[in-house]
Amino acid sequence: MKTFRIGGVHPAENKLSAACPIKKAALPKQAVFSLYQHIGAPAKPVVAKGDEVKVGTMLADADGFVSAPVFSSVSGKVAKIDAIVDASGYRRPAIFVDVEGDVWEDSIDRSETLVTLKDRPELTAQDIVAKVKAAGVVGMGGATFPCHVKLSPPPGSKAECVVINGVECEPYLTADHRLMLEKPDEILVGVALIMKAVQVSKAYIGIENNKPDAIKLMTEKAAAYPGIEIVPLQVKYPQGGEKQLVQAITGREVPAPPAIPIQVGAVVQNVGTAYAIYEAVMKNKPLLERVITVTGKSVKQPTNFLARIGTPMSQLIEECGGLPEDTGKVIGGGPMMGKALMNLDVPVCKGSSGLLIMNNKEARRGEIQPCIRCAKCVSACPMGLEPYLLATGSALKNWELVEENDITSCIECGSCQFTCPSNRPMLDNIRMGKSTVMAMIRARNAKK
């Protein structure tokens, strides 16, 4: 069975909500739409205070190519355009909408009927990319890179295959798993759309073999879609990293940054994104809602929600039985790469794949001990780096050393710190070093 070549760790899976069907979350009283829900330029507001909006009304338009519009996921009145502390921990501009009723824009097809490519033979690649762009679809796996950018390969590169990420290697999260079980046809049509958009005839959907039900169902369904192959993968973190996934499936290694997967001919998308693309193109539905797993060992009822974007996290926690008494940490995303939230009023964003609640004991890091040079971080690093060297070099501010040792290749997956017997906060230091080195490189390039 395939997996990526070097490194990797096996965190306890804890997929508590794997058997829980996707449940529609209740409408919030007030929805908050951050203008920074994607990588790139923030969206520009196109509504004003007091405007009536429907579900699907554009609130803010994309500002530039690498940007994405934001749509209202609720109907009601724009209360204010202000700022909110979002999942990043920073105050960022956001549009607040007071919810009244649930009125949808007429252009959106709300029926459940499956629309396949055969029903819409007139769609061209340009149409698909344009629709994806207009619907504000971004990478749903958490990176939130505007989707239409990936679907328009830069000049000089040619896509050869599409790689779809159904790996969900983060412990606890089950959003993609449930989506594959409940919307397999929609995902497969979405994949077919991606294939058409980038003009390739081959697509692989990588699924880790801790989801045998998803592998079975998707393989059965995929038989009807030419060119789509389901690839079962060995369970190993961080298989969901796009470079690792491309390597595991196609055997090709993406070179060091600034190279991206398209350089080896791969277009990587998440299953959630494929579903969003299906809805955007076939149902004319902009990105309004997403599947988010609310989970944790102390949570009464770990649940997979289909939540409207802009719903406050606190409301989802209430629906799961409330915030446990001994909560120590609330994480937006999975435990390996997610971000600890500073407060619970953070709204669901396009990239929110999960909400993990940890109790006080789990949340604390262990006592830091001296590095015993056991080299476990070196063998765990999926990028073939030397985390111990990068962490120490960064802590000592030896930027030249860490740059020479390819700190910019680090994907911040956390495998090194996860595996460290001395509980050393390696990634804290490596992140600091990486950001410094990136700034140095940018400054050098600017000088040239």
Partner: protein, 291 residues
């Protein structure tokens, strides 16, 4: 006896050969250097703090010589040695040193534990830059001091320390050489080099929160809310308001301390003034009685 002689001769020969090799090498591989660089290096403090912007003291010395050859050493300043050192440097180069105002590092935040409640607990490397990556740090203030002491680590002179009571860095003005290392290390640019002012006295707005007044007020008791009362109170038009923040121009400020009284949040601090005369203290209760 002959054994001793052999030893002496062998050792002597080894020493002689080594001396010859060293002599030849020092002549042959000698790097020609402007003698003034060495002279300047000698008068510099040799702290190699990089405060001047050059890599160490010898780098600065080289830059001074280059600048002198180009015509002027204006703008070259060793922040550690200050005026006396620059005068010496100038005399070596046969020039006049430009007058420089003495400066000091100023921490523009007063978000002590008491003023600014900690809303979350930060767990990780005690570094401001790491804390910054988690969001706004332990407090809800998106601009204020993170209190992890990157400035303390950057200071070569032990002039900054974190006060354990307040959780804030404090500058020891006697030790501070205004090299600017702390200002560079601070990821939120809270520390700034400011003119020391006459007798070390100056007025400082100790806040950098650019949020609107309502937000700034919520996160910290001692924040500047940009109300502009100080601007009105200042008789010398030394205070300007930008980005919801007051700024006191040290050139124009005449140290009348009217702004300090006007500030409703106590964000303006008078530094190094003698304690207020009892008169003012007597006034305050009187005012209260009136109200």
């Amino acid at each position: 006896m002959s054994l001793i002689w052999i030893a002496v001769i062998v050792l002597g020969a080894v020493g002689l050969i080594a001396a010859v090799v060293l002599f030849v090498a020092s002549k042959k591989f000698a790097v020609e250097e402007d003698p003034r660089i060495a002279q300047i290096s000698e008068v510099l403090p040799q702290a190699n703090c990089g405060g001047c912007g050059y890599p160490g003291c010898s780098g600065f010395a080289g830059a001074c010589v280059k600048a002198a050859d180009a015509g002027s050493i204006e703008g070259m300043l060793c922040p550690v040695g200050g005026q006396p050192v620059m005068e010496k440097v100038a005399s070596i180069l046969g020039m006049e040193a430009a007058a420089a105002t003495p400066k000091v590092a100023v921490v523009r935040c007063n978000g002590t534990c008491e003023n600014r409640p900690r809303v979350v607990e930060f767990d990780g490397v005690r570094s401001c830059r790491v804390a910054l990556m988690t969001g706004t740090g332990e407090t809800a203030c998106a601009f204020g001091c993170l209190g992890c002491g990157d400035c303390v680590n950057a200071c070569q002179f032990g002039a900054i320390k974190i006060n354990p009571q307040t959780g804030m860095p404090e500058v020891d003005e006697n030790l501070c050489t205004a090299c600017g290392a702390c200002a560079k290390a601070c990821p939120r640019k809270i520390i700034e080099l400011r003119p020391k002012g006459p007798k070390g006295r100056r007025m400082v707005v100790k806040c950098v929160n650019r949020d609107k007044g309502v937000v700034a007020n919520k996160v910290c008791k001692a924040s500047c809310i940009g109300c502009g009362k100080c601007v009105k109170a200042c008789p010398f038009e030394a205070i300007t308001l930008a980005n919801n923040l007051a700024y006191i121009d040290p050139e124009k400020c005449r140290l009348c301390r009217k702004c300090e009284e006007a500030c409703p949040k106590g964000a303006i601090h008078a530094v190094n003034f003698p304690p207020r005369k009892p008169k003012t203290e007597a006034e305050t209760p009187a005012q209260e009685n009136k109200n």
